[in-house]
Symmetry: C2
Subunit: 153 residues, 2 copies
């Protein structure tokens, strides 16, 4: 087995996410927990607009963003839906070693370098790291097993 | 509109991905392009094993990893499946401003801090950034529109 990698990689945020959620207590449990999910906005940084060409036809996007905050990064967490702690890689907790958040959002429209989307659950002002088109053939697994989420209480 | 964010964030890889693909020319077009998709391995770094507790019950995982390499980061790219260039955020090209790769893989087994998975398409030795459980209710959009991928040639 190889030695663990130790070097760091660095990222520059490419924009900001605008949501109605000003505090962690405001954030819904997931991007589909509110009905209807509120309209949110992806504000790409200046100079990045060219990267959005041809994005309009996709109905869904994957957003990757930085889950900032000063809370500790943990290897075990106790999710709200669990009666005991779980390994952090078996959860979607933000308290992970590399705090990258992921949301599958619907694309509602575009004006220049601003996208309107739904299904976000993150704080207003969250730093955006990447936008990818959602491609069902490789990204959609509707029958995926839910692990401990389906375990009896 | 807010000014674009400028600060950097840094990540420490949490492990290494082991695939049969030694060069970029060996990598399949996507993780499902080979039939059957070969068995690959996720080697978590020492000290991280506790984060895998409770992961066994999930049938699918989302892996985030660092798409290294010295090629330039572009805002427009010409994918193999396109007859013209597209905005990079409308493609899954590795030549993106923040080169984070994403694969939805099947979890085939676990031995300590090593997971056996299928559906990876990345280079052997790729640095792992995060493991998330795949949760169909928020991650699966089987009817998602394919944008320019469905456009007539």
């Amino acid at each position: 087995m190889s030695p663990p990698p130790v070097r760091c990689v660095s990222l520059t945020p490419i924009g900001v996410l605008r949501t109605p959620f000003a505090t962690l207590a405001d954030c819904p449990r997931n991007g589909r927990a509110l009905n209807p999910p509120p309209l949110c906005h992806v504000e790409l940084a200046e100079g990045m607009e060219e990267g959005l060409e041809s994005i309009e036809g996709f109905s869904h996007l994957i957003l990757l963003y930085w889950l900032g905050g000063d809370f500790p990064r943990l290897l075990r967490v106790t999710p709200r839906s669990s009666d005991r702690s779980r390994g952090v890689f078996a959860t979607r907790s933000p308290r992970r070693p590399n705090p990258i958040g992921l949301s599958v959002v619907t694309l509602e429209g575009r004006q220049g370098r601003v996208l309107a989307v739904r299904n976000l659950d993150c704080l207003d002002g969250t730093l955006l790291l990447d936008i990818k088109p959602y491609i069902a053939r490789t990204d959609a697994e509707p029958a995926a097993g839910r692990g401990w989420l389906d375990a009896p209480p």
